[in-house]
Amino acid sequence: MAVATKTLLEVAGLHVHLGESHILQGLDFAVPEGGVTALLGRNGAGKTTTIKAILGLAGRSGSIRFDGQDLVTMKTHAIVQLGIGYVPEDREVFAGLTVAENLKLAERDAEPRYELVYQVFPELKQRAAQRAGSLSGGQQQMLALGRALLNRNRLVLVDEPTKGLSPLMVASATEALARVAEASTVLLVEQNLQVARHLAQGVVVLDQGRVVHAGEVAGLLADDALARRYLAVGVEGGH
């Protein structure tokens, strides 16, 4: 059915402990090159921790191979320099810096794509001199996505980009994600099933620190029982 594509990111036996708790208990999944893979699951299933573990922001053991290279022993900044972008869950823009400074800090490529960023989010250009801390939540999300658009990333890790956004902003963020996905592979954590189904082809479902389902989005959506069990929503309810 699906053409066998090259695997860009391969996670095997990934464990994360935080204090006493064993958050990730041996994850195995793969992200094919190109397109969007959605990482789904209930709250507390370990989605955000998975993203942070890939980036080296959480202590981890196991194997994480990016284009054949093992990330587990690498430091965060070196991992990112391989061409991995990150849009964190709570935006994490630098409140004391201006919008322009936030973008400048994120520059990694020799020719950062400011035209693209400003084309998708014209507001960022207008507010270049404004402190990021005084932006609305939606504007901060634009900035966080803008940081990821700025560089030619091979893989972009996006953590709940539509959380807490107005419906209008959700549409805008979805469009931006589509633009990101044109050039990069995207691993997307998303609670909003509509957005996930619109953008993603592949899907990985986590429950209590384990992978309970991996396959194509269409398959998951066809299986109402599965969706109900692991996502706390029925597919119909997601409409």
């Binding site: 994360v16 935080l18 507390g44 922001l57 959480a58 053991s61 965060t76």
Partner: protein, 357 residues
């Protein structure tokens, strides 16, 4: 718990009979245990064990890093000395005044400095202590004796507290101080406020959410430990027979911190042991540094080793980097190994950046 209590009791009994033991411990002490010189050193060790224990209530149990604990110790030394030697008050009246100062001063200064937390709190307590130190050095109205210090006038003291022959009494006073401090500390950390202190150390926000007002509990522990330190200062005054301005300096506050870390913060007996060991080492290192063994070394080696603070400083760095639990931590690890239990499963997570789940 009962076994711990029995152990503590046994230790205190052994310590109490030391003045009757004519036992030579060559290498450790120059003279037998019951000689005044040895008893005086041991009494100083006991006193600083108590003061370190008081500081540990603040630092180890509540997580408040104060750099001004010497101020409250110095309050005990100077207020009592001035009352007895300058104003010729009776011992009872001097004790009452010192006790009052030992409550009011930490209460007021704690209330102010606890308006800030963390690093700022450390800086502010240091600043207050420094003001006290400057005041003592400047000798206002000829009260403190400035750099010379202020000898304790024997006239106002009962006979049994005066003279070399009475060192055993002073030793027992120091032991009583340590015992009372130990018991008070034990009682306090098991009490309701004591449990709130430990909760503040773990997570202050959560204490707030539980409906407590952390500030009040922090002022309470600050005052309580300040008062115990003042009492220690008073015992020190009796032991040494005078006040010298060095007890007001930041160096003493840092030494208290060293004692607690050496012993292991957050346990009751660890810092007490740390205080005693530190005081003993401090005394012996000064002797060692002027000894022939060091004097015979070549220059580049001799210069650092003849400075006790250099040795202590290096020791301290190594301790923090390699034995974070201090003596208590090492003892705990040994005990677990002896019990044959694997010392906690090896963590696959090294302490990297803090991450929310």
């Amino acid at each position: 718990m009962t076994r711990t209590r029995a152990t503590a009791l046994a230790v205190f009994v052994v310590l109490a009979v030391i003045p009757f033991l004519e036992v030579p411990l060559p290498g450790l002490f120059d003279r037998p245990l019951n000689r005044p010189g040895t008893l005086q050193l041991l009494a100083l060790c006991l006193t600083f064990a108590g003061v370190a224990l008081s500081y540990n209530l603040l630092f180890g149990y509540t997580g408040l890093l104060s750099f001004g604990h010497a101020l409250y110790f110095a309050t005990g030394v100077y207020v009592a000395d001035i009352a007895i030697s300058r104003w010729h008050w009776s011992l009872g009246a001097a004790i009452a005044l010192t006790a009052a100062a030992g409550v009011v001063l930490p209460l007021v200064l704690g209330a102010v400095s606890l308006r800030v937390g963390g690093i700022a709190f450390a800086m502010v307590t240091l600043a207050f202590a420094q003001a006290g130190s400057i005041l003592v050095y400047k000798n206002p109205g000829g009260l403190t004796g400035g750099e010379e210090g202020l000898g304790l006038s024997a006239a106002g003291l009962p006979d049994f507290l005066v003279g070399v022959a009475n060192t055993p009494y002073l030793y027992w006073i120091a032991l009583a101080y340590l015992a009372v401090t130990f018991a008070a500390g034990w009682w306090a950390i098991g009490s309701r406020p004591g449990r709130v202190w430990q909760a503040i150390r773990e997570n202050e926000r959560r204490v707030e959410v539980m409906g407590f007002w952390p500030y009040a509990f922090k002022v309470l522990v600050f005052t309580f430990s300040g008062f115990l330190a003042t009492a220690g200062g008073f015992v020190y005054l009796l032991l040494v027979g005078g006040a010298s301005p060095e007890v007001t300096t930041a160096n003493l506050s840092l030494a208290l911190l060293l004692m607690v870390v050496l012993g292991g913060a957050g346990t009751l007996w660890g810092p007490a042991l740390g205080g005693a060991v530190y005081e003993y080492l401090d005394y012996r290192l000064v002797k060692l540094s002027s000894s022939s063994a060091i004097g015979g070394l070549p220059g580049p080696l001799r210069a650092p080793l003849s400075e006790p603070l250099f040795v202590l400083g290096v020791l301290f760095i190594l301790l923090v980097l390699f034995f974070p639990g201090g003596i208590a931590g090492v003892a705990g690890r040994l005990r677990r190994r002896r019990l044959g239990r694997a010392a906690l499963p090896p963590t696959t997570v090294d302490a990297g950046d803090p991450v929310q789940a």
